[in-house]
Structure formats: C-alpha cells, structure tokens
Symmetry: C2
Subunit: 768 residues, 2 copies
C-alpha cells in the first residue's frame, strides 16, 4: 500500500484542486451575472434584487471593481458571522442543525486528535518493531505511527485499550450534550413557531370502506363521535396523480413555447420548423410556435376534464384524510392515540407540513405496506451485498504492485514515478465516488416504494439505507476486498465467521487508502460543492433561452437543498473512519478534522446564501444522526477487539468487551431521554400554545384558516392570482400582482400566521 | 446414546409414575378432608362449603361411598365440559387464555405429526444408510427414523426442505389465527367488564420535585391545566414499605399466638414455655401466650406510629401518583400521550388493577431505572452463560459409555441391564429438573430490581428471562455439552462461530435424551402437578394447629396461581423441541402431543377447581407467548440450515434461507396487526363505554367511587370490618360480619360495579 510519498502527491493534487475550486469560486461568485446562482436564497427572501439595473452594460455581467477581488476570501468569515438564532430564522432549523453535524465532528475529533498525538503516536513510534525486520511484507512510514508497530502481545496495548475507553467516554459526553442542545433547540423552535396548519392537523390513513357513506362522511362521523369536543373539519385526499403528470407535462411544453417565442422575437423572419417525432429527429414538419400553442391548448382541455373527473368521481377519493382540530391539544391527542381496536385502520399521525407531503403514498393499505417493506428489505440486502463485486474490481486496480504482477507488460508505465503516484493516490477515491453518485436516486425510489408519506421521512429512510450501503461497500468493501486481492489464497477458504478479526487485522493496512479517499471526497469534493458547477451551467442555459421577465429569471434559479438523504451518510463515513482509526492509526485524524472544518465553513455559507429547503421538519433527523454515530462507535469497538485478538493480546480483548455493551446502553438511555421529543407532541406544550393563541387572537376563524391548506398542489396552481388579490389587504408586504415563488423559505412559510392568511389559503375548486 | 430399549424402560417408568400420581389424585381428591385442597376456587366463590356438617364423624374425613371410587376418573371429562365463555367468567381471561397455549400446541403439532409420519418417516426409513455400515459410531433404531439415515448429499433432502416450508406455513396460519382469536377475546372481555377503578386511572411516575408545592398539589395543578376537561382526582403514593413489613411481622406472630391458644385449649394444665432467642433454641424462658400477646401489642403500637408518620411526613410521599379521570376517554388519552417536553418526567401509563400493583417499585427515577436495567442485563448474561458449567457436568454423567471409559471399575454395575436403563432413562431429566426449580425465584427478583410496577409485568418479564435461560441451558446446553464430552478434542478448538452447524449436526443425536426429558418433565411432572403435594401437606399442618373457625380454615387454604413467569417458558421448550425435531426426528412428536394433551386436561381442571389468580391482566401476556413461539421457529430453521450445510447439501441450504426472513417478517406483520390491542386503549372503545355507562348510571358519583381505590394495601387492613358494615345495604349478598377473603376471583373483583361499592371502598385514613 501507498507510502508517505504517495500520500504527499495525493495531498498535493487534492490541495491544489481544492484551492483551485475555491479560487474559481471566489472570482465567479462576485460576477453580477452569476449573482442568482450564488445568492438565490436572498432573492427568494426578497432582500436582494438583480444588480443589472445599476451601472453600465458591462458591469451587468462582469465585476470590474478591483477591490472586491482583493477581498475574494471574505465569504469565509462572513459565513461564520451570522449567529445561530439568526441562522435558524434565516434558513430554518433543519439547515442550522445540519451544519452542527460538522461542528459535532470537530467537537469529537479535535480533543481525540490532541490526545492521540500526545499519547498514542509516541507509544507507537518508539516501539519500532516494523522496519527493522523486512520479511517481504511491505510496511511504510505510516504504519510505524500505527498500532501495527507494536509487536505481538506487547504490553503497550494497554495504552491503546485505555485510550479506547477515554475516546468512547468523550464521544458519549459530546453526543449526549449535543442531543440535549438540539432537543432544546427543537422544542424552542416549535414553541416559537407561528400558527401553521400542520399544528392542528392529523393525517388519517387506512380509513375503512363503508357501504353507506362516502369517505368524507365516514371521517366526519367517526371523529365527531370519538373526538367530540375537538374535531373541526377534514380534507379528503384525491388521487390526482394523473392530473399532476398532465400539469407537469404542460409546464415542459410551455418552456419550449417560451424558447421558440424568444427565438422568434430575436429573428422574426426565420421560420421555426420542428419535427413532431421522437426527440425532434423525424416525423412531420410543423411550425414550432403553432405546434406548441395547439398542444398546450389541448393539454389544458384534458387537464380541465381530469380535474372535473377527480373531483366528481368517488373512486378518485383515497381512503386517507387530513383531519383538523380546534386546538393543538386535540390534534396532539389524536395523533398519539389509537383510534379503534383494529390497529390497521384509522391510523393517525401528525400531518407533515403541506409542502412536505408526499402525495402518491397516502393510500397504501396496511398489508400491502408490509409486503412492500419486506420486498424492499430483501432488495436492499441484494443491492448492498452484490454491489460489492464491481467495487472489489476497482479497488484491486488501485494496487499497482498486483497489476504489475498480473500484467507485466505495463511495468514500464507503472514504474515511472509520476503516473504511479497519480494512479495510486487518485484512482481509488475517484472510482468509489463515481459509484456513489448514482446511488441516492435508487435508494430514494426504494424509500418511496416503502410508502412513507412525507418528503422528510423519505429522506431520513434513504439516509439510513445509504449509510448501510456506505458501511458495507465503501468501508468494509475497501478494507476486505483490497486485502482479499493481496492474500487471496489464505483468505478465500477462511471461515466466513471470523470477519471481525480479519477486518480488524486489515484495518491498519488500509489507512493510506482512506487518507487519499478523505482528500478526494472530503477536501476537493467539498470545495467543488461550493462552486455549484451544475446549477451555474443550468442557470446560464435557461437565462439565455427562456428568460424574458424578472419572474422567469426567478424561476430559472435552482437554489437546491441540502439533500439530507445523500449527504448525511457521507458525513457518517468520516465519523466511522475517525472512530475506527482513532486508536489504530491516529495519523488519519488531522485529515478528518480538516474535512469537518472545511465542510462546516462551506455548508454554513451554502445554507445562508444558496440552499432553500423544501420542507422544515424541525431537526427530526437528529435521532438518526445520533444513532448512526453510535453504530459507528460500536463498529469501531468490535473491530478493535478483532484486531487485538489477532495480536496475541487476548486478555486485553476481554478488557474491551464492556465497551460495546456500554455503548448500546448509552444509546438506549439517549433514546429514552430525548427521542420522544422528535416523535410525540407533549400535551403541556400544546396546551400552552393553545392558551397563548387564544389570548392573542380570540376572533380567529380556524376553520376558515385551515380550509384548503391540505389541498393537493395541482388543485392550487390555477387559482393563485385571484386568491392573492383577494388576500391582498392581509398581506401588506406582498405585491398582489407579483407571483411569488413557491420555493419560500421556512420562515416565510406559506402558512405563517404572522403574515395572516396568504397564498396558502386557496379554496378548493368545487365542481360547478 | 440411548437405544429404543432405554426409551422403552424410561417410558415405562414415567408412564407408571404418571398413572400412579393420577390414581392417588383420584382417590385423595374425593376425601372430604382434602376438599379445600382440591376445590379451593369454589370455596372462594362461595358456592361450596365444608362437607363436614353432614353425616357421621368418619364421613367427615374419609369418603365411604364406594360408587365415587368407581367413577374416579370422571374429573377428566368434567374438566373439559365447562364451555369457554363460562370458563372466562369463572376463572378470568388470563387463565382461560393460558390453557389455550396447550391447545395451540395440539393445533400446531397434530397435523405436523400426521404429515411427518406419512411423508418423512417413510423417506428416512427407506434410505437405510445407517446400520449397514458400522464405523464405530453408535447409531440406534431411533436414528434410522431420523434425517441422519439419509446419506451425505442425498437428493431426498429436498423432501425435508419442502416439509420445512409446509410446517412453517402451517405454524404461521395457526399462530395468526390464534392471535386473532385471542385479541378478539381480549377486546370482548374488556368491553364487557364492569366498571373498575383502573379503567379511569392512570399511573403517573417521575413527578418532578417542586420547591413550592407538595407532590399532591403539583399533580393536581398539572393535570387540572393540561387535562382540563377530564381530570377528576388523584391519589399520591406513600412509601409504606416499613409499615407493610410491620404488618407482615404481626401476622406471623398472630399465627403463633393462635397455635399456642389452641394448645392451651386442648390441654389447659400444661404450661407453655418458650425461649425468646433465635429459633426458640435459647434465651430467656417465658410463658408463650403472655409473650406473644405483649409482643403483638407492642407491634400494634409501632404500627400505629408508623402509620401516622407515613401519612404526616411529606418525605414519605413518593414522586408517583394515581390520577383518575372523569371518563375512560380522558384516561385513555392521558395514558397514551406524552405530557411534557422532557420525556423522563410525568411518565403516564395505564394503572394496573389495584391488586396488581407492585408498590415498592413505584418511585424509581428514570436514570436509576436505566442503570438497573443495564446491570440486570449483564447479570442475566452471566447467569445464563455461566450456569452452563454444572449442567454440562450433569449431562456428561448421563452418558454411561463415557463413564465406563473414565471409571472402568464401575463397569460391572453399569453393564447390568436394570440400573443401566434406569440411570440412562431417568437421570438426565431429573438432574435438569432440579436445577430449574430454584431459578424462577432468582429471575423474579431480577425483574423486581428492573423496576416494573405491576405483578403481571413482573411475571411477563420473568417469563422472557426464563425462556432465554431454558433455551441456552436446557436446549443448547444439552445439545452441545453432551456432544462436547464425546467429541472433546475435535470440538474445543473449533471456531466458536460455527455454532449453528455444530448444533445442527448434534441435534439428531440428542433426540433420545429429549424424549426422556419430555416424559419426566412433561408426563410425570404434569401428573404430579394435579396432586398438589405441597399445598396438601401445608393445609393439613395448618388445619391441625391453627384452625379454630371456618374463617381460619378459609385462610389456611392456599389455592395458588398459575405462576405464568415460571410455567409458560417451560411450555415454550416443548414448542421449541417440536419445531426443531419436526423435520429432523419426527419420532419425538407423539411424545410432545401426549404432553400437550395431558397438560391441557390437567390445567383446565386446575384453573376450574384450584387456582385463584392474583390479578387479571386480560391476556396481556399473549404477545410474549406468540413472540417466543416465533423465536423457536426461527431457531429451528437456522439449526436446520446448519444441519443441512454439514450434509453436503449446500445448494439445498440456500433454498431454506428465505424461511427465517419470512418468519421474521411474519412476526412484524402480527406485531403491527395485533400488538397495539395489548398495549394501548382505543379511543373508540373508551368512548362507547363512557356513553353506555353514562346512560346506565347517570347519577354515579365517580369521585366517591374511585376514592381510596389505589390506597396502599396496608392502609386498608384495619378498616375492613367497619367499612363492610357501612356498605352493607349496598351489598345484599355480603354478610356484614363475615370477613370475606381478599383472594377473590377476578369476576368477583373488589371493584365491581355490579356489587356497587363494597369493601374496596375504604376511605383513606387521614391524620386526625
């Protein structure tokens, strides 16, 4: 495996590319033309508008102010400047807590690193077992700093065992404290929230069919009886998936129409001819403008028909409903209790925010749900374990010595120092990275099949699937498959159950690989993140071809979001690596700290200036984050036990056995202490909020306020303008004629009582 | 291992002892003098009274009616005659469902046996691999009927795999159906119950300390605010453990006083002198009557002081309370919801029945509770796994061939046919049995330390601990340790992780052992159960020395109860054995069926005539029973996979892999479908009962009804007589001067609205 020299080259490449990305970013972001790519959040908040209307033509596109170039790195302190309460108000609790994961990494690993470098590294270095005897095995300088440098059965292992305890307890302390802080933040956030429909609403699923009543009547009767004093109203759920796809299709066609209209405006003489067949490659030739206009008209008609059909057809009503209560207390009670003796019908849970609802999954019956989950569990197993084959192949490529042995004719190329270091330092990381890009989409699709009803729930489920995948394929796959190629014969016939020992034994040898991986994925990857290459290109394409008005430009912005499901498990890999290597090869720790620091900086900048979350779950993901770090801790302990049991230090392995037991116990203590705050709604808090709100706003017509809040989004689109006008007097800071973007920030949420009732308040279109 | 001959002898011994027990029982039970030992339940119900007052002196003690001796076995059909609804009313749902576990065993195993004997046994028998070649291994006829008779890699294994699927699906069907039936029974039972205090009451624990308010005021304020429309009253919990021990001590001394008074009455001249020291062996000599009278008087004073102290001292109030609501709906809501943002305080759960409360555990704080559970989990681990050493020693004794090898001088004794068969057939079972007698008490103590608050919960927890113990020590211990002694060298250095294979391989060899175990524990043990030797002896001792009046005699009765915690896991062992051996050695199945049939008969008789449950949990234990059978099923499947993978039938093991996955999935489906009915109280049902009760009894003063219901039992004892007299007019069927036994049946529960307010209604003693 790689030597210090290889790592040096890899570090050089990665530091250069990271610095390169950051430099490009520093220059690109201050160009006015890119303003909407790098500061979309402020546009959405309405506090920033296009800089184009000031200065001359050139200054609309290029920043000519030299002084700004000199301060090109000032985004970094700026990102840190915003205090946390303001950050929560600006970007929402989800985002603010998300960046705290990186901070948590720093809190855990900085003290561990200091301790490891002052205790473990000297102990390892002075052992000097390796290096003196060259038995054909390839050890390098990195190994001399690692636990491998201790001889078999050395007494010095007790130092490592002691440190394992210290590190574990420190991690406990930080995790517990962080869980506490974040729970407090969540409760504080929920308590300070303004009135929102989801606080009064419960999602009811699996409503049993009734021969005599419609779903709506059945719901009304059931809740009027069983929640007599609290039931207010309900909203049935329509199966509007066809309608939604029609609306989506129309939107795409409208984009093309705009494009051709723009072309026509620029060059009125030129006839715009397109072919109607597949991808415009063949088929009948028609005039583009005419074609799109007629197609859109047809679609509009279809859409109207479908809309009428959905509203009037009783079969389009799904056995699910959003039931609203006249107090948060009533809703909290209904969400937490069982309604009937059959626990598979009348299932109640807190309604997600209206924008967080994943509509297609609302109508899955109980038995189908369990079958789906079984199938997805089996599918996840196969995806996780049979994806390893290609990874193993790629990993093996990374070991040039093996390639040389197998393909001797490549020797001249490989022996040259330049390519050798490049390949060895860069390839393994990049190969893994490419594999991982395609994965979140598949996993998200699997979560959707599993039938979760909110986008936030889908993301959380995807995250736990992805973590499993990363653990098995990136971590175990790299450790075992790489080693397997080296020790093929001695390995393949080994008992499959000795895995902890085998992995533990291979762990120190893979330190170099993971260091390069951290540099590629962690350093350069994060620096690339801040540059936002894809949104930058997409924005300019759209800007050139589609944008005619300021509103269009707003539509062309793609602020993106954090994508918790795919980013969080990748952070978890760093926690896992840090915890596993803290005792074994502490040299890896500074690389991880640099990653956490850089990522904290970048993501804090991104959530302030760029990302716009689709929903606000109030940090509901934290129990998952906490659970995965605890899992990583248990894994690190088991692997350490496995490693030590191969070092003729059996008596010391016994000393480590209490660690996983304590860790699992710690998990249950934290779970009992904090998790309910993320699942249930305490009645005391609900009562306090009810009392406060009644005192503040005694005349509020809650029924009117909640009406239409949980309308399927496709029913809303047509009515936005008129309703905005209607609500105008209640929305002093809203311009009635301006269609505000739907991608509002959490604070500026559509259902925010501070702005009274605004565009969320669409009355449901009734059949005329 | 034992041959068919050994089994024959063992069967003979056990059948003889079983028949012997049954014959003795048949004779003893019809003697009038034993009437209260064998029919205590009917005495407690008040439908049977002492037969002594009719006929001559002899007939008071001995049954001289010859005809009854001829019909001595008629208790068997009588036990089956009572229809189930009547049984539920007579003995409570817990007992009625408990005997259904045996019925479930019959339902699962009778069809499996028929199928196994018509398909698997012929397939095994006709293979004839064993027996032809004698390679020094000792096979016997039993093995020829088992899977061992198939050769390595035989195609016939596919038959066994197919049968494994059939058996699994049949078990699924029966389990699912049974879960459904019992859930329906439970809901029906709860719906038809009369009004009871626990329906309106919630147990609140971990009430946070308040500097300005007492616990009582704090509770009152909290619930008056947060359950404004539903809160009715509360009852704080006193730490009356000292008082309870004083009361207990007084009771013991009173027994001695009665004993000496009786002695004195019989022989007034004789002076009754006792010594006051330890166990009456030394110390000052005093007059017994005088001594006990003064001691009891002193104790009464102490008791009164302690009683006053407990009531007046605020420190004696524990941070727990029973909070009552004005409707079942209100109580159901409070029990199922979280009260505050800190989930470790104000913990609410359904109050157990007053007689089911385990008082000492009501005041354990949250953190202490988690520490206790951790310690108990570790303790259980050590108890379970280090108890194996003695078991292994005893097991090894059972293998006489080994003993002969080790101790050749015993050869002449062992070689004789008689002792050999006796030892081989009888010893292993009896040795295990003795080990197991002491265990439930230890496990119950561990459950108490864990801090469960109801007796029923303690029994359920004990059952799951005991099942783990039985599985590891009786099942695995017998399979592995026995084999370990035979194959010591080849075994001890084997990788510890190949356990499934090793156990699977040993399974067929241990069939004989388990057959004898079933006969000793199952057949003879159950027959001994019906004889009730210990209560019989104890009753006659008490009857001779303590009984003066009819009431005393009632006190001397010990009806006992089912003791779910120690009996249920033992049934589970039979499920485990049946499922494991169904495919491997079907010859064991008829023995299990005989056990289930006999036990069903005996326990049905016992719950009708003898046992008097201490509490009624409404079959809350069923999810545990179901879960353990599913666990046994998974274990049987894994062991079958292990067994087949050693038979060079690897491709067929792959075919078995879906089975455990399906079983675990089945478990989750059942859990989701049925388990909430055992944990939560559906609001619809609560609302229906509220409405009905309001209609039936609109004038009921619920506050008066609930007052004192959750008084600590020691506060009640003194006031029984006066209060009974007070309530007399409301209790037409109660004789005011007769102190009714506290050990009432569930139907005749103290808090039964059909009998209005009776002796449960003690007003709490207030400090004067």
């Amino acid at each position: 495996m790689g030597s210090l020299n290889d790592i040096g080259v890899a570090a050089g490449i990665n530091i250069l590319s990271a610095v390169g990305f950051l430099l490009v970013f520093a220059v690109v972001r201050i160009q006015p033309i890119n303003d909407r790519v790098y500061f979309p959040k402020w546009y959405l908040k309405g506090t920033r508008s296009s800089p184009r209307h000031i200065g001359n033509v050139l200054s609309k596109f290029v920043n000519a102010d030299v002084s700004t170039y000199l301060r090109f790195l000032n985004w970094m302190p700026a990102a840190l400047k915003m205090p946390e309460p303001e950050l929560i108000e600006h970007a929402g609790l989800d985002s603010a807590v998300y960046v705290r994961i990186y901070l948590l990494g720093l809190k855990i690993f900085v003290p561990i690193t200091v301790l490891a470098f002052s205790v473990l590294v000297p102990v390892n270095w002075t052992s000097a077992t390796l290096g003196d005897d060259e038995e054909g095995l390839s050890y390098d300088q990195i190994d001399k700093l690692s636990i491998s440098n201790l001889g078999q059965g050395s007494k010095r292992f007790w130092v490592h065992i002691g440190m394992a305890y210290v590190f574990t307890f420190w991690t406990f302390y930080v995790l517990y404290h962080e869980y506490k802080v974040i729970t407090t933040m969540r409760l504080h956030f929920l308590a300070n929230q303004n009135r929102r429909p989801d606080q009064f609403t419960v999602l009811v699923r699996n409503i049993p069919a009734d021969p005599d009543e419609t779903v709506g009547e059945h719901v009304e009767h059931f809740f009027a009886v069983n929640h007599r004093e609290h039931y207010l109203s309900h909203q049935v759920v329509y199966n509007a998936n066809t309608l939604a796809s029609l609306v989506e299709k129309k939107k795409g066609l409208q984009n093309w129409l705009v494009y051709y209209e723009n072309q026509h405006a620029k060059n009125p003489e030129k006839e715009l001819i397109i072919k109607t067949g597949l991808w415009g490659l063949w088929g009948e030739k028609v005039d583009a403008l005419q074609h799109y206009k007629t197609t859109i008209e047809e679609l509009c008609k279809q859409e109207d028909e479908e809309r009428q059909k959905v509203i009037s057809d009783p079969k389009a009503i799904m056995p699910a409903a959003f039931v609203s209560f006249n107090s948060q207390w009533g809703a909290a009670v209904c969400a937490q209790t069982q309604q009937t003796s059959n626990p598979t019908v009348w299932l109640t849970e807190w309604a997600p925010e209206p924008r967080d609802v994943y509509w297609p999954n609302l109508a899955i019956p109980f038995v189908e749900l369990s079958v789906r989950r079984l199938i997805m569990a089996v599918a996840l197993f196969f995806l996780t374990f049979f994806f390893m084959v290609p990874i193993a192949l790629v990993q093996s490529v990374a070991n040039l010595d093996d390639i040389e042995r197998v393909l001797p004719f490549l020797k001249p190329i490989i022996e040259r120092n330049g390519p050798r270091s490049v390949i060895q330092g860069f390839l393994p990381g990049i190969a893994l990275k490419i594999f991982l890009i395609f994965l979140p989409t598949i996993l998200m699709a699997m979560s959707k099949i599993e039938g979760h009803v909110s986008l936030s729930g889908l993301e959380r489920r995807t995250a736990s699937k992805y973590f499993l995948f990363i653990f098995v394929n990136v971590f175990l796959g790299s450790v075992v498959a790489g080693t397997a190629f080296q020790q093929l014969n001695s390995f393949i016939h080994q008992s499959t159950n000795k895995i902890p020992e085998t992995i533990g034994e291979s762990i120190p040898m893979k330190a170099t690989f993971f260091i390069t991986y951290i540099m590629v994925d962690g350093w350069a990857g994060i620096a690339a993140e801040v540059l936002r290459l894809k949104p930058l290109i997409m924005f300019h394409i759209k800007n050139t071809f589609l944008v005619r008005t300021e509103q269009d430009r707003e539509q062309a912005m793609d602020p993106g979001s954090l994508e918790f499901g795919s980013t969080e498990p990748r952070i978890q890999l760093y926690f896992l690596l840090g915890l596993v290597y803290a005792v074994v090869t502490p040299i890896i720790l500074p690389f991880i700290i640099v990653f956490f620091g850089l990522a904290y900086l970048v993501f804090r900048h991104q959530i302030i200036n760029v990302y716009n979350q689709q929903y606000e779950s109030g940090a509901q993901f934290w129990p998952g984050v906490h659970g995965r770090i605890v899992t990583a801790l248990v894994i690190s302990q088991i692997l350490l036990i496995g490693l030590l049991s191969t070092q003729e230090a059996e008596q010391s392995t016994v000393a480590l056995l209490p660690l996983p037991v304590l860790t699992i116990w710690f998990h249950y203590v934290c779970k009992g202490r904090f998790e309910p705050a993320y699942i249930k709604c305490p009645l005391q808090e609900a009562m306090v909020k009810d009392t406060l709100q009644r005192a503040n706003d005694p005349m509020l017509n809650l029924r009117e306020y909640l009406k239409g809040a949980y309308e399927h989004p496709v029913f809303r689109s047509g009515d936005v303008y008129e309703l905005l006008a209607m609500d105008e007097e209640e929305n002093p800071h809203l311009v009635a004629t301006k269609r505000r973007s739907r991608m509002t920030t959490p604070v500026d949420s559509k259902f925010n009582s501070s702005s009274g009732t605004n565009e969320g308040e669409f009355s449901r279109p009734r059949p005329s």
